[in-house]
C-alpha cells in the first residue's frame, strides 16, 4: 500500500532545552494510506511534540515530513488534529465552532455542511449552545463534527477524549473508527494507553523516551469492529504491555 505520510526526523530539541539532549532522534516511519497507526509511549516522551511537527505547528527540528510527495512546511487543512482537550473555541457556539472548521469559500454556513456535520454526530439540536454548556461527551462529538465539515487526508489524534470515563470514551472511539473509514481518512494516533492503540489502529509502534525512538512494531490484524473483551484483543494487549514494561 502507498504510504501517505513519511516521517524522518534526524533530531529535535527545544531551543531552551539545549542541555537536555535530543527529545527525538533518528525516528522514521510511514503511515500507509487509509490505515491508522498508533505511537505508544510513556508520558512526556515527546509524542505530542512529534504530532505538532507533523501538523506543521513546530519547526524546530532537523528532518523531513512528507504528505504524499509534498513536504509539510506549515499547518493546513490536509492534516487536522483532534486535541487532548477538544479545544472548542469558548466564544463561538457549537455551530460557530463547526463552521469555523470549514473553508470560507465553500461557505459551510449556507451550503448545509455544518448542519450535516452536526447531524452526523447527533448534535443538530445543540447548534446554538455555548461550549461551556456541553458535557464532555458532547464536546468530543463537536470535535469530530469539526473533522467532518471538510475531512482531512490525515487526522492526527492526540490522546483524544482523554478526560472522559471509559464507557463514553469507548463509544466515541468506535465512532471515530467509523468516521475514519467512511471518509477514507488516514489516522495517526498517539497515546500511552495500550488498549486505545489496539482498538483504533492497524499498526502500533512502541516508542522509547529521550530520545524518542521506535523500539518495536506490532501489526494489529484483529477484525473490526473490535471488542475490548475478545480473547485476541486481550492477548495482543498483554503482549504489547509486556514489551512496553521492559522498555526504559
Amino acid at each position: 500500500m502507498n504510504a501517505l505520510l513519511k516521517v524522518n526526523i534526524e533530531s529535535m530539541r527545544y531551543p531552551d532545552q539545549q542541555d537536555q539532549g535530543d527529545l527525538i532522534q533518528d525516528l522514521s516511519f510511514s503511515v500507509p494510506e487509509f490505515t491508522t497507526t498508533s505511537l505508544l509511549g510513556p508520558s512526556g516522551c515527546g509524542k505530542t511534540t512529534l504530532l505538532r511537527i507533523i501538523a506543521g505547528l513546530e519547526t524546530h527540528f532537523r528532518g523531513q515530513v512528507l504528505l504524499g510527495d509534498r513536504e509539510v512546511l506549515r499547518p493546513s487543512r490536509q492534516i487536522q488534529v483532534v486535541f487532548q482537550d477538544s479545544r472548542l473555541i469558548p466564544w463561538k457556539t457549537v455551530g460557530g465552532n463547526v463552521w469555523f472548521a470549514g473553508a470560507e469559500e465553500n461557505a459551510s454556513q449556507t451550503d448545509g455542511s455544518m448542519e450535516r456535520a452536526l447531524e452526523a454526530v447527533g448534535l443538530q439540536g445543540r447548534r446554538d449552545s455555548w461550549p461551556r454548556t456541553l458535557s464532555g461527551g458532547e464536546e468530543g462529538r463537536v470535535a469530530l463534527a469539526r473533522v467532518l465539515v471538510q475531512p482531512p487526508r490525515l487526522l492526527l489524534l492526540d490522546e483524544p477524549f482523554k478526560d472522559l470515563d471509559i464507557v463514553l470514551k469507548s463509544k466515541l472511539e468506535a465512532y471515530l473508527v467509523d468516521v475514519l473509514q467512511k471518509n477514507q481518512i488516514t489516522g495517526l494516533h498517539i497515546s500511552h494507553r495500550v488498549e486505545d492503540a489496539v482498538f483504533l489502529s492497524d499498526t502500533v509502534h512502541c516508542v522509547s523516551a529521550r530520545p524518542m525512538r521506535i523500539s518495536r512494531t506490532f501489526q494489529i490484524e484483529l477484525p473490526r469492529p473490535r471488542r475490548r473483551r475478545d480473547r485476541g484483543f486481550v492477548e495482543l494487549t498483554d503482549q504489547i504491555l509486556e514489551h512496553a514494561s521492559v522498555v526504559p
Binding site: 501538523a55 506543521g56 505547528l57 506549515r74 499547518p75 493546513s76 487543512r77 492534516i79 487536522q80 488534529v81 482537550d85 479545544r87 473555541i89 469558548p90 466564544w91 463561538k92 469555523f100 472548521a101 470549514g102 473553508a103 470560507e104 455555548w130 461550549p131 461551556r132 454548556t133
Partner: protein, 262 residues
C-alpha cells in the same frame, strides 16, 4: 426575617451626609469653606434645571469620551499587532514598555508644548492614560488566551484578519473592557484636574465650573459639582461593568477551561 433585604450600602453615605449637615449647621466648619448638604442638593437641582451645569458636564464627558475612545482603539490595535508579529514586538515593545512607565504628570508639559492648553491637550492626556493600559491588557490577553486557538485557526488555513477577528479580539475583549474601565476612572480624574488647574478662562467643563465657583466663593456650586462628579463616575463604571458581563457570556467556560487545562 427580612433584615438582609435592606441594602446596607446606603447607611454609610447617609451617616456622612448627616454628619456633614450637622457640622455645618452647628458652625464646626467655616461657612465660607462649606455648605450643608441640603443647601448643596437644592442648588444642584436648580443648576441642573437651568441646564448650566449640564453644559459643563457634557463638555467634560465629551473630552473624556474622545480621549478614552482614541486611546482604546490605538491600544487595541497596537496590542493585537505586537502580540501577533514577532518583528513588530521586537521593534516596538521595549519603547512602549518604557513609555508606559512614565507617570501621567510627566506627559503634561510635553503635551502642553506640543498641543497648547486647549482641547487637544486635555483629550491627549486622557488618550495617553488609556492607550498604555489597553495596549498592555490586549497584548497579554492575546498572548495567553488566544495562542491555543491560533493553532487551530492555522490548521483551518484562516487569514491574518480572520485570526484577529475570530480569535484574538474575542479572546482579549474582556481584558480590554477591564482596561477601559480603569482608564475611564483615571481619565475622569485627569480631565477634572486639567480643567480645574490648567484651563483658560471660559474653557468650560465640570472642573472649570468647580474651580470658578471656588474662586468667586460660591461654595454650594462647588460642592454641587463635586457631588455630580462622584455620581457620574459611579454610574459610568456600573454601565461598563454591565457591558463587560454581557459581552463575556462565554467567559465562564473560558476561565474554567484555562484553570483545568493549563
Amino acid at each position: 426575617m427580612q433584615y438582609h433585604r435592606i441594602n446596607v450600602s446606603w447607611v454609610v453615605p447617609l451617616l456622612l451626609l448627616l454628619t456633614w449637615e450637622a457640622a455645618t449647621r452647628l458652625g464646626c466648619l467655616g461657612v465660607s469653606q462649606s455648605a450643608p448638604p441640603t443647601a448643596v442638593i437644592k442648588r444642584l437641582v436648580i443648576l441642573l434645571a437651568t441646564g448650566n451645569l449640564l453644559k459643563h458636564l457634557a463638555l467634560s464627558l465629551l473630552r473624556l469620551g474622545s480621549g478614552v475612545l482614541i486611546g482604546a482603539l490605538l491600544g487595541t490595535a497596537s496590542g493585537v499587532v505586537l502580540s501577533s508579529s514577532r518583528g513588530a514586538d521586537r521593534l516596538f515593545s521595549g519603547t512602549i514598555q518604557f513609555l508606559a512607565g512614565v507617570p501621567l504628570v510627566v506627559w503634561m508639559p510635553l503635551w502642553i508644548i506640543l498641543l497648547g492648553t486647549g482641547e487637544g491637550f486635555k483629550i491627549g492626556l486622557a488618550t495617553t492614560a488609556t492607550y498604555f493600559l489597553v495596549h498592555i491588557h490586549t497584548f497579554v490577553a492575546s498572548r495567553t488566551v488566544a495562542v491555543r486557538y491560533i493553532e487551530l485557526a492555522d490548521i483551518y488555513e484562516k487569514t491574518y484578519l480572520q485570526k484577529i477577528f475570530h480569535i484574538v479580539l474575542p479572546a482579549a475583549i474582556a481584558s480590554i473592557l477591564t482596561a477601559v474601565r480603569i482608564s475611564i476612572a483615571i481619565g475622569w480624574i485627569v480631565i477634572f484636574f486639567v480643567e480645574y488647574a490648567a484651563s483658560r478662562e471660559g474653557a468650560g467643563g465640570i472642573g472649570w465650573f468647580v474651580a470658578d465657583a471656588r474662586q468667586v466663593g460660591r461654595v454650594e456650586d462647588e460642592f454641587a459639582g463635586l457631588i455630580l462628579l462622584g455620581v457620574l463616575g459611579f454610574s459610568i463604571d456600573y454601565l461598563v461593568s454591565r457591558a463587560q458581563r454581557r459581552i463575556s457570556l462565554w467567559s465562564d467556560s473560558m476561565e474554567s477551561a484555562l484553570a483545568a487545562r493549563s
